[in-house]
């Protein structure tokens, strides 16, 4: 449960702290992003590309706020971490089902921080000769950026703390929260 009978938010864990972006704030901003995308890509052959798996909530809401015909597809890439560290380089775990050639492609990301993952995705997709390639991120942490990546649409600037919810996780937990909240790993899960 994320809300009690009085509609107050109940933390799923002592580590989940104050809400950063409420469900209403997120929904309103996603609507605005959808309007902007609808306007900018009116009449275009547009593919929205989600990077699994944190993207599912944002993609579902964004899709429903776009008022021009679009195609949706998903990719998944291996992520650097203890289990992948010795396995060489990033690789596609799930590729697109559709061709991008001649189509306008818009990568949908939940959060952009260092730019490592996104730069890999941009290089990979640019090679497929889309008519254009852009990025829409719900959250941006520009202070953490190490690799320059062009963001066409940004929802919010993220605070410089751990956050969870709306697809964001800590050890794969808390993605299901309808809002985005601070998370303190020291307080445990």
């Amino acid at each position: 449960m994320s809300k009690n009978q009085n509609n107050n938010i109940v933390p799923l864990s002592p580590g989940v702290g104050p809400v950063v972006f409420s469900e209403a704030q997120i929904q309103a901003r996603v609507m605005e992003l959808g309007e902007a995308i609808s306007r900018d890509y009116a009449g275009a052959d547009l593919v929205l590309i989600g990077i699994l798996k944190g993207i599912v909530f944002f993609m579902a809401d964004l899709l429903r706020s776009v008022h021009t015909p679009v195609i949706v597809d998903f990719m998944s890439i291996s992520r650097f971490g203890p289990s992948e560290e010795t396995r060489g380089a990033a690789r596609l775990l799930k590729d697109l089902d559709l061709s991008l050639q001649g189509r306008h492609a818009l990568i949908i990301e939940i959060i952009v921080e260092t730019g490592f993952t996104l730069s890999y995705m941009l290089r990979t997709l640019q090679a497929r000769q889309p008519a254009s390639l852009g990025v829409c991120a719900l959250l941006d942490r520009p202070r953490h950026r190490l690799i320059d990546v062009p963001l066409k649409y940004v929802g919010f600037e993220a605070p410089d703390e751990f956050i969870v919810g709306y697809g964001l996780h800590y050890r794969e937990k808390f993605r299901q929260l309808p809002y985005i909240a601070y998370y303190d790993p020291k307080k445990g899960t």
Binding site: R79, F80, G81, P82, S83, E84, E85, G88, A89, A90, E113, T114, F116, T117, S119, Y120, R123, H144, L146, I147, D148, D160, F162, R171, P185, K186
Partner: protein, 130 residues
């Protein structure tokens, strides 16, 4: 003052965090060099280098130098002063300092929670110092 190529960049990393960061760059196929350039920051009367900074990494595709530090905030003043001097003397150079807190967030983001304390100190120490 002119940047000087480092004729003998170290073959090993001075700190395990540097090795982890290099592995992260390799994973995402981001070209990097280890301590390739020394930036003199001040000279004595005879023109000898008084102090200098050799950033840990250079990302050639980004034209970006990166300095990593695991020092606590209270000890980081000297590092900040050198970075500030470098920016003053070489305004065309892009350099970014990743401090202990940045490294902690990065390590935990990539799932290295279990070794974060070993690499950069205990979280409570981080909190106390920051």
């Amino acid at each position: 003052m002119q940047p000087q190529p480092n004729p003998n960049p170290p073959k090993e990393f001075a700190h395990p965090v540097e090795a982890k960061f290099a592995r992260l760059l390799d994973f995402y196929r981001i070209p990097w060099e280890h301590e390739p350039t020394t930036f003199p920051l001040s000279l004595d009367e005879e023109g000898n280098i008084n102090e200098a900074l050799t950033p840990d990494f250079y990302l050639s595709n980004q034209d970006l130098y990166i300095e990593l530090t695991t020092q606590r905030q209270s000890l980081i003043t000297e590092k900040n002063r050198k970075i500030r001097l470098l920016r003053q003397n070489y305004p065309h150079i892009n350099i970014k300092l990743l401090n202990r807190r940045d490294m902690r967030i990065l390590l935990i983001k990539y799932g290295f929670d279990a070794v974060t304390g070993k690499l950069i100190g205990k979280p409570r120490d981080v909190e106390k110092s920051e």
